[in-house]
Symmetry: C2
Subunit: 132 residues, 2 copies
Amino acid sequence: MKHKQVNLSKNQHIVLETIRKAKKPLKAYSILSSVKKKGINAPPQVYRALEKLVELGAIHKIESKNAFVDCKNSECETSKATAFSICKKCQKITEIMNSKLSTYLTNFQDNTGMKYEKYNLEFYGLCKRCKL
Amino acid sequence: MKHKQVNLSKNQHIVLETIRKAKKPLKAYSILSSVKKKGINAPPQVYRALEKLVELGAIHKIESKNAFVDCKNSECETSKATAFSICKKCQKITEIMNSKLSTYLTNFQDNTGMKYEKYNLEFYGLCKRCKL
DNA sequence: TAACAAGCGTTATAATATAACAATTATGTA
DNA sequence: TACATAATTGTTATATTATAACGCTTGTTA
């Protein structure tokens, strides 16, 4: 699985590596406290890096959690089509990579005449382990 | 079929009516300033009402905007399956009511063994008018 | 009518995010 | 090279969104 980090700036690189090492989605201020030892001191530095990384498709924002995960999908050049499953109990979040789903949603048209360029889908439920 | 607002408390009723009258999704603090004249003075009063109304399915939260809209879908007893289109330019937000879509997503299963109970889907793009 | 759940009002504060500005670094191109 | 310019950085301050905690009141129901 290929990772994208070639043209990243110093702060972008630090933030991305922090997110990649995490096993859970990270919140901005949690990232901030992790990277203070690397010389990143203030929120705007983190938020700017996050914004850029989202643009690049290197990470995704879980909107309902205000948290960030790295993109595991090598086909994901930009964050135009994202889907996640979120366990309500253990909070485990998994990116859903299902070509039928993404094809279905990418081609979806409602009756308002709107041209969709991007979507984000968040499923909630109980994961395999928490169901027991 | 019971009307959704019959059993609402005073604050819940005020907040719901404010959202219903609005033509756009409202943010919590915008609601707060609208309802000060009706005796609601502090954020927790608004947030409590919003939480309950979301639970009841009377309103939905647009996660990527931190804003609330009333549910236009009479079948929507609780907010278990929601989809919206969001215009990137004019910010117009429309609830998508499409039974094929909701059936497809409600029955969707990925390969992680997770049981989905709820989803929220947000499409972004340009609405008919802004496309021109 | 006692007991309990739900709701209320209030103060304070936590958590999330951005504005604004000056300085620095990277990149393209004449 | 040298200049323009776009991107990035560091910093302070502040805006925005959301919740904790506490005691009181109201509504429900056994």
